[in-house]
């Protein structure tokens, strides 16, 4: 069960992308999981994630502050919420 997230096509696709990068089954990706500490994304995987978020999800917020952004402690849910905010802006 994906904590706190009602199933939606947007979430399903987002979780599938994260799962592919983390090389895990999609059903293991939950909002509460931290992408570095829990999903174990290394530097290569983080770079792949950034490119997917910018290119496929159009997240301008990522490219705007990538230089200063820290990834430790960031959860999948926080990234998904940020994507929704970007998409609504």
């Amino acid at each position: 069960m994906r904590t706190g997230t009602p199933p939606s096509p947007q979430w399903e696709g987002f979780a599938a992308e994260i799962a592919a990068i983390a090389q895990r089954p999609t059903e293991e990706v939950e909002r509460r999981l931290r992408i570095v500490e829990d999903l174990g994304l290394d530097s290569v995987a983080l770079a792949e994630l950034v490119l997917v978020l910018i290119d496929d999800y159009g997240m301008a917020s990522i490219s705007d502050d990538l230089d200063q952004r820290t990834w430790e402690g960031v959860t999948v849910g926080q990234l998904f919420d940020e994507y929704l905010r970007d998409a609504a802006a």
Partner: protein, 135 residues
């Protein structure tokens, strides 16, 4: 790495802040057999960031575009391998291991020899070089 046989080296900087992220180099080229070595060093190794890898990706594209190398070797101490491990067999293959090569933190570590092939990079680069909004 010694600087004598360096073919090219660059400083990787963040575009918006101009902060120095790390350095990359291609060295010890063997044009007859079509390979060279690359090195990458991040200035802040404790920070988990994609910036160095993004810069390394641009550098790899530069190297494969400028020279007709079939493959590039990169030596990585075992204690740093965890930062690259997810790309094994997608971007690089592990082709060698120098056992107990270096001493750090009170113990000896293996040195891993990774190889990036031109064809593998060409396929992988479609992910790395497509983003237009990179800082």
């Amino acid at each position: 790495m010694t600087w004598g046989p360096v073919l090219a080296h660059f400083l990787i900087v963040a575009r918006r802040t101009n902060d120095a992220i790390g350095v990359v180099a291609v060295y010890q080229a063997n044009f007859q057999d079509g390979f060279a070595h690359i090195a990458a060093a991040r200035f802040d190794p404790d920070r988990r960031s994609p910036l160095m890898m993004l810069g390394l990706g641009v550098f790899l594209q530069y190297v494969f575009n400028c020279w007709d190398f079939r493959k590039l070797y990169m030596e990585v101490p075992e204690y740093n391998y965890g930062q690259l491990a997810s790309a094994r067999d997608r971007l690089f293959v592990m082709e060698g291991r120098l056992r107990q090569h270096s001493f750090l933190g009170g113990e000896f570590w293996d040195q891993l020899i990774l190889a990036i092939y031109r064809d593998t990079w060409r396929e992988y680069a479609t992910h790395f070089l497509r983003a237009e909004g990179l800082p």
